[in-house]
């Protein structure tokens, strides 16, 4: 990966010089501490946890050690992976719908201040109403359990994308807007060439928040739907294991939810980096 820091003199015709950063195993040297340091902290914590459990002889139904949890995850992988797939597909579908609906609504808001003033408060109401409180209603109203879970996850994930994209669309540089006006750009051209690119960093920041929230929304909705439903996602496994006092399996499912959240976050961060690395301040590395 190259860092295109143009080392240029104020001289005509000088070709730009790009500094190439040293890479280790395909990653820039500066990226390794970012990966290794948190990993070391994680491993040390897991080690300490295992020690505490062993030294105090804590029974597994109170607190299982990480090794037992890992073994359980391995042995129950058949059931757990199926549940993981269900939870993940609900989260990702909810995130996709949140992106489409959030961006479309933000574009609509950007067209008219009146539309924004009229509808934005309702988006806020949707956001501040706890999903646990409305999930039972949605589950009653919607026959299909999967669909009702998706709606709950969507409600949670949708607002950061709407709010950030709306802000981004209104944050285009004032002089650039004047320039578009001067060249008599149509509304559509201004949206396409100026407002949408200017909103991209804001949208991506919202997407990173929504990625985690869609997973939380899906899990919370599954909890509410409980064992009564036909759903069998990771939250259902946690409830089921709780009732059956299979605590290691409960932890295994919990771990899988956390890891999924981290993976979603990392993927979205990487996407954001790919899109912004050439131009945005947040992806810019400073030498001083």
């Amino acid at each position: 990966m190259t860092t295109p820091l143009a080392q240029v003199a104020e001289q005509d015709g000088t070709a730009p010089v790009f500094l190439r950063e040293k890479t280790i195993l395909g990653l820039p040297a500066s990226a390794w501490p970012k990966i290794l340091m948190p990993l070391a902290v994680g491993l040390l914590s897991l080690g300490a946890w295992e020690m505490v459990v062993r030294i105090n002889q804590i029974p597994p139904y109170i607190l299982p050690g990480p090794i037992l949890i890992a073994t359980t995850m391995w042995l129950d992988w058949g059931t757990l992976s199926g549940s993981l797939w269900i939870t993940l597909s609900i989260s990702l579908a909810a995130l996709a719908v949140a992106v489409v609906a959030g961006v479309a609504l933000a574009i609509l808001f950007a067209q008219s201040k009146w539309v924004e003033l009229s509808f934005f408060p309702y988006a806020v109401i949707l956001q501040v109403t706890p999903v646990v409180a409305i999930a039972p209603l949605i589950i009653i109203w919607v026959d299909n359990v999967q669909l009702s879970l998706l709606i709950c996850a969507w409600i949670v994930a949708f607002f950061p994308i709407l709010s950030n994209t709306t802000l981004g669309l209104n944050s285009a540089d004032h002089n650039l807007l004047n320039l578009f006006q001067l060249y008599r750009a149509s509304r559509f051209q201004t949206l396409l060439y100026l407002r949408l690119p200017a909103a991209t960093p804001y949208f991506l920041a919202g997407l990173k928040i929504s990625g985690g929230l869609s997973l939380i929304g899906a899990v919370v909705a599954e909890f509410v739907a409980g064992t009564g439903g036909s759903a069998s996602g990771l939250a259902y496994r946690i409830l089921e294991s709780g009732y059956q006092l299979r605590i290691p399996r409960m932890f295994a499912a919990l771990f899988m939810i956390s890891i999924s959240g981290i993976v979603i976050f990392l993927c979205l961060s990487f996407l954001s980096h790919l899109v912004l690395r050439r131009w945005h301040e947040s992806a810019l590395k400073r030498e001083n």
């Binding site: 104020e10 004047n178 060249y183």
Partner: protein
């Protein structure tokens, strides 16, 4: 009467007909500030005019009105060459480079042509020509953040010239640059202006810059913003660094400074 006026207009040679003509222009902002009062200004074809004045004298406001970014509260601004038919009769260079950070230099320069729905190939060719004019051919694919302040301003000028405008409006374009870069850009701007036939209206608060660049300096005073003097800078082009050190240059600087001082004094009396 009107028919007669039109006939008279037709007989005039384009070179003597003003490109822009302001008649009794006033601007009142929504907070009640009188930004401009009774401004009369004719700008001839291929003239290099500077609007010089202290901050708050309405020079940028006047430039924006000429650009059509806002309507005058009174009076009218005429474009005898009929700007209405041609969105590209004028270009504007802001104090900041005002580039799109997500686009490369050449994409930034192509923007006005893209808005005009020119084919991508033709637009790319013309943008490459414009970048060559400002000496940035090697940086076509660089992003704005990879360029220095002076280079960003060059890209901004290339974007303004890519539409081959009749009038180039510049709002303190070099104010934020260091002196060495500013001198270099001053020289290059004069060269570009001499080699083509566009008119320049250049807003500045620097006496030296206005004397170096322009044929004519319109001095403005503040509160309310108005024109108080119209100075001719009778020095031949091409002007280069020798001109900067010549007695003639000093003399013009002295008279422009005196005019500016009286503009400030006007302000003090009124304030």
């Amino acid at each position: 009467m009107t028919a007669f006026a039109n006939a008279a207009k037709l007989q005039e040679r384009p070179a003597t007909r003003p490109v822009v003509s302001c008649r009794g222009v006033a601007k009142v902002f929504s907070n009640g500030t009188l930004a401009l009062q009774n401004v009369d200004l004719d700008i001839k074809h291929h003239q290099f005019v500077s609007l010089l004045g202290p901050s708050g004298c309405g020079k940028s406001t006047l430039l924006r009105l000429i650009a059509g970014l806002g309507e005058p509260s009174a009076g009218e601004i005429d474009w005898p060459a009929d700007r209405e038919g041609d969105a590209h009769a004028l270009s504007f260079v802001f104090q900041e480079p005002t580039l799109m950070p997500w686009a490369t230099a050449i994409k930034n320069v192509m923007l006005p042509l893209k808005i005009a729905r020119m084919s991508a190939d033709e637009a790319r060719g013309r943008a490459a020509d414009a970048l060559r004019l400002v000496g940035l051919s090697a940086f076509e694919n660089s992003y704005p953040r990879e360029l220095s302040g002076g280079m960003k301003m060059r890209v901004s000028i290339a974007r303004a010239l890519v539409t081959r405008p009749q009038v180039l409006l510049m709002d303190e374009p070099f104010a934020a640059l260091d002196e060495i870069t500013r001198f270099k850009l001053n020289n290059d701007l004069l060269r570009l202006w001499q080699d083509s036939n566009f008119t320049v209206v250049f807003v500045t608060h620097s006496v030296f810059e206005s004397v170096f660049l322009s044929e004519r300096i319109v001095v403005m005073a503040a509160r309310p913003g108005r024109i108080i003097e119209d100075i001719e800078v009778a020095a031949p082009y091409p002007r280069d660094n020798d001109y900067r050190t010549s007695p003639l240059y000093n003399e013009h600087c002295r008279s422009a400074s005196a005019a500016l001082e009286s503009a400030m004094a006007h302000h003090a009396h009124h304030g």
